[in-house]
């Protein structure tokens, strides 16, 4: 019987298979950051162990780093200690590190792909759930805990119980104005935050094949929000073209051998998935969340749902609690929700295409009074590219703040946070209670919706701005 893409990559990494034991899988790339690694390095020290493959390991600083005044000492002493701990650990154990201030620093899931380190058919792990991002290349990439980080550092392997496989097939083409972010939010709303539990999702179908690499990363990134261990997309010409010329991409004869192998990384026609979901792309529209988990979302044209409409008592209770926390009432049109803050950035939507999309919407317009807009590039490279294209000027001319690269307000570990009761439209991945700051309220949106929302001060799509412009006579 044929095999799925995920099964092929898995099989190619089995170091040891024995009856009654989890497979021991080889790990091709291990990404590290400051938050989930200190206790792992500590464990190595206590047991007198070393890092087995420093040449398959790379670290960057992202979660804790400030996005302002990066040339000054970090004000928060606890954050500073954590970054200094990573620097010492990398120096002691011989791990390559891109610290704050380095040209290759940035959000770990932006850095790996842009260096060409993420390639089809690899196993990629990181102590971060959004490692699923790298699945966009046809890699099997998943988040791990700190105990597993220590395990990979010491052995370059992980014992893993098998995943189940799920196909999410997106038929047709996305309508104009509908983005990868809208699509993944709609998928999560459909299958639920636990729907992907135990599965590796393979996204396929016409709409997926037409996406750019960066859009594919946005899709795979949020697989974890559907509960899945990983998300994958079969590599194709788009993937090979994206990799060409990147620092660590294979060249010459190596590239030929690699591409020959990469072309085999497709689900066989006779392979069977454990579960299949089909979504029609043509019916989709800009999508936003109204609740406190990423499955609580709806098209922007909808209203806040009535918790009483949920049959399942636990979903009903969750919706009640969400509305209470979010300060919303059932039936309120989503377009009437006013925000204080707009955040463009994160491993979900902090790449150059995301910044271009947001800039195109806000160019020649202004951020609404009383709204603060933060634009945080996903990496220094993205930042430099944006500056070269003049995007930073577009944002600052509109009244937005142009910041240094990092995770920033996605999780509020650094000073970029919401104040209690403040509400954001955010291009990040999680709308959990307090995620962006104690008492903060988050609506997940695409970069285009974020930019349009910054202009109107209420949840809006770019099409809403055009309608408003048309209603206003020229020259007035």
């Amino acid at each position: 019987m044929g095999r799925t893409l995920a099964e092929k990559v898995w099989d190619d990494h089995v170091v040891r298979r024995a009856e009654g034991e989890p497979d021991l899988l080889y790990i091709d790339l291990h990404l590290l950051h400051e938050v989930t690694s200190p206790q792992a390095f500590d464990g190595l020290r206590k047991n007198g162990r070393t890092v087995r493959r420093t040449d398959l390991t790379i670290a960057t600083e992202d979660h804790n780093t400030p996005t302002l005044d990066i040339d000054k000492p970090i004000a928060d002493p606890v954050s500073r200690t954590q970054l200094e701990t990573l620097r010492k650990n990398c120096a002691d154990f011989g791990v390559r590190l891109h610290p704050l201030g380095d040209d290759e620093q940035g959000v770990v899931h932006v850095v790996g792909p842009q260096l060409g380190l993420t390639q089809p058919g690899m196993t990629v792990v990181c102590g971060d759930s959004h490692t699923s991002t790298h699945g966009a290349f046809g890699a099997l990439a998943f988040g791990i805990g700190t105990s597993q980080v220590e395990h990979v550092l010491a052995t370059q392997t992980l014992p893993m119980a098998p995943f189940r496989t799920m196909a999410v097939t997106v038929t047709g083409e996305l309508p104009d104005g509908v983005t990868a972010k809208d699509l993944i939010l709609a998928i999560i709303a459909r299958i639920g935050t636990g729907g992907g539990q135990g599965y590796v999702i393979e996204y396929r179908g016409e709409a997926i094949e037409k996406l750019s690499m960066e859009a594919r990363m946005t899709i795979c990134n949020m697989s974890i929000e559907a509960g899945a261990r990983a998300g994958m997309i079969a590599p194709d010409e788009t993937t090979f073209a994206y990799l060409e010329g990147r620092d660590h991409a294979p060249e010459g004869a190596d590239r030929e051998a690699a591409v020959d192998y990469w072309r085999t990384l497709r689900t066989d026609d006779d392979a069977v998935f454990d579960h299949e979901v089909v979504i029609d792309a043509t019916g989709l529209a800009p999508f936003v969340t109204w609740g406190t988990n990423p499955g609580q979302g709806a098209p922007l044209s909808d209203s806040v749902p009535d918790p009483a409409s949920y049959e399942d008592p636990s979903e009903r209770y969750a919706a009640e609690k969400a509305l209470e926390y979010m300060g919303l009432t059932a039936g309120q049109p989503l377009r009437e929700i006013a925000v204080d803050t707009v955040f463009v950035g994160s491993c979900t939507n902090g790449r150059i295409e995301d910044l271009r999309a947001a800039a195109a919407v806000i160019e020649g317009r202004s951020v609404a009074e009383g709204v603060r807009m933060l634009v945080v590039p996903g990496s220094v490279r993205v930042s430099l590219q944006a500056v070269a294209e003049g995007l930073d000027k577009v944002f600052t001319a509109a009244g937005a703040e142009w910041r240094h690269a990092g995770c920033s307000m996605c999780l509020g570990m650094n000073p970029d946070q919401l104040a209690p009761g403040e509400r954001s439209a955010s291009t990040s991945n999680r709308n959990f209670e307090g995620r962006q700051g104690k008492g903060g309220r988050t609506h997940l949106v695409s970069p285009q919706v974020a930019a349009a929302t910054a202009v109107t001060g209420r949840l809006s799509s770019p099409a809403d701005l055009e309608t408003a412009d048309a209603a206003q006579p020229m020259g007035v």
């Binding site: 380190l117 105990s147 119980a161 636990g194 539990q197 261990r229 969750a318 959990f432 104690k438």
Partner: protein, 197 residues
């Protein structure tokens, strides 16, 4: 890791679904570089509400958490497991756990037990009716007991053996050095390296 065989203790009923790891331990606690000292961060935001179940005096000293479905979603932070253990929990019962959280818990000897929602409902009712009610989580028998209530649970033999023996995964894997070295010798040359020789 400490071995887990069987545990009996009073319980905390947490009637919420989708309890994400940001709720279990908020991000600002993640700046610590140790595995301990997270107990005060456990459910920090919810604990500011005096009515929150963990704040009830009759729940003090409880060691079994009985939670709603999809417990531990979101961030991979193992700190969530450490926070539960630092606070004193030895086991968590739910009808569904997020994968990464479950993996992290078993690596630290925090037993996560999957029971059908109907069984979770029964336990909620029992421990809410009488906070002194004790729940036994028996890994040897793979069974949860509470008064006359009994329900068996599944956990694969290998994971159970590691927990019962309190085994260190890394030591076990290092015994497979020959297999790892053989795999490495056969890896294709085109695979990327982060360091150039």
């Amino acid at each position: 890791m400490e071995a887990f065989t069987t545990h009996t203790g009073r319980a905390v009923p947490l009637r919420r679904s989708n309890v994400d790891t940001d709720q279990i331990i908020p991000a600002h606690w993640l700046k610590k570089v140790t595995r301990d000292g997270f107990e005060d961060g456990l459910f920090e935001a919810w604990r500011r509400d005096p009515e929150f179940v963990l704040n009830k005096p009759e729940r003090a000293g409880a060691t079994v958490l009985v939670a709603g479905p999809d417990f531990g979603t979101g961030s991979s932070r193992e700190h969530a497991v450490w926070a539960l253990q630092n606070y004193g929990f030895a086991a968590v019962i739910s009808s569904r756990f997020a994968d990464i959280f479950r993996g992290n818990s078993l690596k630290n000897g925090l037993l996560t037990v999957v029971l059908p929602q109907s069984a979770v409902d029964t336990l909620w009712q029992a421990v809410e009716a009488d906070p002194a009610t004790e729940i036994t989580v028996d890994l040897v028998a793979r069974e949860v007991r509470c008064g006359s209530f009994r329900e068996s649970f599944e956990l694969d033999d290998n994971a159970r053996w590691r927990l019962l023996e309190g085994l260190d995964d890394i030591s076990l894997t290092l015994r497979q050095e020959d297999d790892i070295a053989a795999y490495e010798a056969a890896r294709p040359a085109f695979k990327p390296r982060t360091l150039t020789a």
